[in-house]
């Protein structure tokens, strides 16, 4: 995939942790929507990488270490996707397709800063 004239963006997904457990069939539907979205990103050449993040973690502030990754412990980070897009607005537009949004998933879109190679 050619990303020469495109920038990369990190999409970070945070799922609210208070929704009632879905049944297996409901999981199937949720899963199916995510897979379809990912498939779309790939088909259009936007997909660069993705992985799942564990809900645990540590946060270091000065000398203190707390269980992380967030102050708002109600949220868990579900995973991340790196996409190639023309600009930030374009990346945000791609993120709008995230099927979790309707169910309360928060998507953070962060540009991976485009600087000269080190």
């Amino acid at each position: 995939m050619s990303t020469s004239n495109k920038s990369q963006f990190l999409l970070l997904f945070r799922h609210p942790n208070e929704a009632p457990d879905p049944s297996p069939e409901e999981m199937q539907q949720i899963f199916g929507k995510w897979m379809a979205w990912m498939k779309g990103l790939k088909a259009q050449g936007h997909f660069v990488a993705a992985d799942r993040l564990d809900d645990g973690g540590k946060v270091l502030r000065g000398t203190s270490v707390t269980d992380g990754p967030f102050a708002e412990a109600k949220e868990i980070v579900g995973g991340f996707v790196i996409v190639a897009a023309d600009h930030l607005a374009h990346a945000a537009e791609l993120a709008r397709g995230c099927p979790g949004l309707a169910g309360g998933t928060v998507v953070e879109v962060r540009p991976i800063e485009d600087l000269p190679p080190i």
Binding site: D21, S23, E25, F31, M35, W37, G79, V81
Partner: protein, 434 residues
């Protein structure tokens, strides 16, 4: 077989077949893994088995979109279930005293499972599902609890879905399941196949639950059609599992499979293009599933070996008459009436008698059907049921008596509670001119 985490980044959602490959994957895996875990943990820890599987499936749902579907989903889920089960039993807030025991239970029961070769593992799943069918249909449980437990444990349905299928409140289903698990715990029900001496009644209970499941799914009148067809398919799947084992390979099992197969074959033709329910006479018979009919015929043939004639044999015979008839008119109504007579002789159910009256009308004309309705055994029990009046209304229409038809149809319309039925009745009422 199990590597962890066997992610498939290149194939992640890229291939169109993934979506088909994993059709019902979560529900199917829930049914397989809860059975195998409950067998290993013991029925008294059924809830633990359900919990760790649910938890592992959630992980799968959250992980696979990012990593791709593993080559061996079952192995992946089982491995996560083991890890999470250990975690959960260590961190569980309730019943702290039991934690170390549960943790060692999970470890002892699952440590080897994740290394079992696939064929051996699949054998154990089949065997576990078979045993759990008998556990879920334990004679000490009320029939409605047997059905709910079977759907939850062996089919992976959620409480909301079971409630929707049976038109019961979700809280009522939850309560049934809690009590059923409590019963299994208190009675120390073993996850075993029944001994020869008690096999007949135990098998009968299992078949009865599959029959109820199928009928609930088959009812045209309510609910989500996808969910209903799943109920039918699962009843057949569990029936096949039963028939494949020497213990369940009995005439009644094959008769039930024949009955379900003939009826399931008609499912694709049951709704009109506008989504309205079609009566058998209105259905496009070319849409009936020939392959299902052939399999049902094979089961019907097998069910005849052994000289036993259960009520499933009689009902399968009726379903076969319908499935094999080239048209409504060319149906062997004489044979159908005979079979209904035999059914009634066994079980004087007013609903069976009502169906018989319909067959009598097809054989000897609407007036004969109406007269059968008049002398219906147990008619009083049906007097306040819309079906009796709906059938009478249709027969008066067929007899060319629209005024009498309208009286019956109006009564039926007033009693019907489900919208689809009210729409149907309103349509007939229009035909009757009032």
């Amino acid at each position: 077989m199990k590597t962890f985490p066997p992610s498939d980044p290149a194939g992640c959602a890229a291939s169109p077949e993934v979506a088909q490959l994993v059709d019902h994957l979560f529900r199917r895996e829930a049914g397989r893994l809860v059975a195998i875990l409950a067998r290993r943990f013991g029925a008294e820890h059924l809830h633990l088995a359900e919990d760790v599987v649910q938890d592992a499936l959630l992980k799968a749902m959250q992980t696979w979109p990012f990593t791709g579907v593993p080559a061996n989903p079952t192995g992946w889920i089982l491995q996560v279930a083991r890890n999470r089960g250990l975690d959960q039993t260590r961190h569980r807030q309730m019943g702290r005293a039991k934690q170390p025991e549960l943790a060692s239970l999970v470890e002892a029961c699952l440590a080897d499972a994740v290394h079992l070769p696939a064929p051996q593992f699949e054998d154990e799943i089949r065997d576990s599902q078979l045993r759990m069918m008998f556990v879920c249909c334990d004679p000490g449980l009320p029939p409605e609890a047997q059905v709910a437990l079977t759907l939850k444990v062996l089919c992976g349905f959620g409480e909301r879905e079971i409630a929707a299928a049976f038109l019961v409140r979700e809280a009522a289903i939850a309560k049934r399941l809690v009590r059923a698990r409590q019963f299994l715990r208190d009675q120390r029900v073993a996850v075993e196949l029944p001994a020869a001496a008690e096999l007949a009644p135990r098998l009968q209970a299992v078949l009865q639950v599959l029959y109820l499941m199928f009928n609930e799914g088959y009812k045209a009148s309510h609910g989500d059609s996808v969910l209903r067809e799943d109920l039918c398919a699962d009843a057949i799947r569990l029936g096949e599992l039963l028939a494949a084992h020497p213990l369940g390979d009995r005439p009644a099992t094959h008769a039930l499979l024949a009955l379900m197969g003939f009826n399931a074959a008609r499912l694709p033709a049951r709704l009109g293009t506008d989504g309205a329910i079609l009566r058998m006479a209105e259905q496009e018979r070319a849409l009936w599933d020939r392959e299902k009919i052939h399999r049902a015929l094979a089961h019907l043939e097998t069910s005849g070996r052994g000289g036993e004639a259960s009520r499933f044999h009689l009902e399968a015979g009726i379903a076969a008459c319908h499935a094999l008839a080239p048209s409504e008119a060319a149906t062997d109504w004489r044979r159908i009436v005979e079979l209904y007579d035999e059914l009634l002789a066994r079980d004087a159910s007013p609903v069976v008698a009502l169906n018989r009256a319909v067959a009598v009308a097809r054989l000897r004309g609407p007036l004969a059907g109406l007269s059968a309705l008049d002398t219906l055994p147990g008619r009083a029990a049906l007097e306040n049921h819309h079906l009796l009046h709906a059938v009478a209304g249709q027969l008066w229409l067929d007899a060319g008596e629209p005024l009498k038809a309208a009286v019956s149809l109006r009564r039926a319309h007033g009693m019907a509670t489900l919208e689809a039925e009210r729409v149907l009745l309103a349509r007939r009422l229009t035909e009757a001119g009032g």
